[in-house]
Symmetry: C2
Subunit: 274 residues, 2 copies
């Protein structure tokens, strides 16, 4: 091996081709909340989680749905890639983005070796009416947790329904790390079923000890609406007094009021940052 006097000299000689090189992509799971109107005028809208999927019109996985994503460019910081793609896809900037996990199984892309760092984004989708790229569509997400660590996920965009069944296998007795194995997946490309489940779980965990929900809320909201969002993410009903107790320090009462809903009006709150 040649001896170098200093680092600069070493770098001048360095040949980056000597090691295997592979492609790195990023996939983004964009979460938002959707409201479905309900026949009874007195009742409030039914909320659910939704994720943005894109229909592939090329091989591989032609005609299947996948998460928005793309290649990480050689001169771009890793975390800038999802921000760029999100801007392309939704025309939104300064979106909440958080690194989820890096998926790197050898066979996850049939073309070649591709490793993908998944990110999770949270938005209020009312901010982008009409700004979506054509191939994208919002899917409502319903998750059923069966007994033996089997999870059913149903995605529905009004026309199409995608059903996934995923087994969670504990990797280690001492912790909470699971690997996911698809038992059923007809319509989602790559390993994006795992990415979606990882995202749902991250969101569910983090809503308990951070303020990230507020990235999915409009500026003004009622505590009832906020509670509904918690309930749909946590997949369980919450008791009103308890909810108001824990949320109280995070929100600020405004003098605005939401009325005309067929029942008692509600005070509008906004997020109180620390």
């Amino acid at each position: 091996m040649k001896e170098y006097k200093n680092e600069a000299e070493f770098l001048k000689d360095y040949n980056p081709e000597q090691f295997d090189r592979l492609s790195l992509t990023t996939d983004i799971i964009i979460f938002s909340v959707s409201s479905e109107e309900v026949e009874n005028y007195r009742k409030t809208d039914k909320k659910s989680m939704s994720v943005l999927l894109v229909k592939r019109n090329n091989y591989p996985f032609k005609d299947k749905w996948c998460l928005p994503g793309g290649f990480v460019e050689i001169d771009e910081n890793l975390e800038d890639a999802p921000a760029r793609i999100l801007k392309n896809e939704t025309n939104l900037e300064n979106i909440y983005l958080e690194q989820l996990y890096t998926f790197g199984n050898v066979k996850r892309d049939p073309r070649m070796r591709v490793i993908s760092t998944a990110y999770m984004a949270l938005i209020d989708k009312n901010r982008l009416e009409g700004k979506l790229s054509t191939e994208a569509s919002w899917f409502d997400v319903v998750l059923y947790e069966e007994e033996n660590n089997i999870v059913d996920i149903v995605l529905n965009n009004g026309q199409e329904q995608i059903s996934l069944k995923i087994e969670k296998v504990l990797r280690d007795q001492t912790t909470d790390r699971y690997s996911f194995h698809a038992l059923k997946n007809d319509s989602l490309a790559f390993d994006h079923d795992s990415v979606i489940l990882a995202g749902l779980e991250r969101l569910k965990n983090k809503i308990e000890y951070t303020d990230i929900v507020f990235n999915m809320m409009p500026e003004y909201f009622t505590l009832g609406e906020l509670q509904q969002v918690y309930e749909v993410i946590l997949n369980k009903k919450l008791l009103d007094p308890a909810f108001r107790r824990i949320i109280e320090p995070k929100v600020e009462k405004t003098d605005k009021i939401k009325k005309g809903e067929g029942h008692r009006p509600s005070v509008l709150f906004k997020y109180k940052s620390k």
Copy 2:
């Protein structure tokens, strides 16, 4: 664009060189606990966290310390790379490994664009006396948290001392995600200062709601020893009754006893998996 009849045909034609390719490495932060004997024969050993570092004998960062790591091979699953490297470095298999974070700043490696997925490993270092590769050394870790999100980390292997000062910058008001900026780092290569801090924080969080500590413990241990490990990871004293309360469901009393310590003997426990 050429039209393909099916996916197999598309793949036959596919040219992987059309997108930028980059190198992917993995770095492993291996945590263990070390005990330092104390002059007073009655007192128990002083425990501290330790991490394994390797001295670089090549450019870049020649003569600096870094985390064990290496390139992810093209035909190897991402998570198999740290396991392989750990086996090389310590001759241990079936070690607790958990993906930490993927670091991908453009300039993190002066040679070329390299993205690195960091893993955290937990071991009981008494299992490997004498098995270390020559360039590796255990450094005790002491962490001081200053006020304004500035963290001092001191690493010491008995001969050398490495001092780091890192600023944690909150990326988003709504959550707990920080980016790390080195204010001082004389002796650690790459961005491994950030990896170490990320690892320390992950460990600190996860010890509260998982059983991962037991990966760092010998088969039999006293509750006092276990409590010391908690205290050194959490960086604070715990009250005995409270500690015993929370640890009780996780451990199993054995009929073994540790005596000869200059004070009352202690029952040895072992991990009770669920």
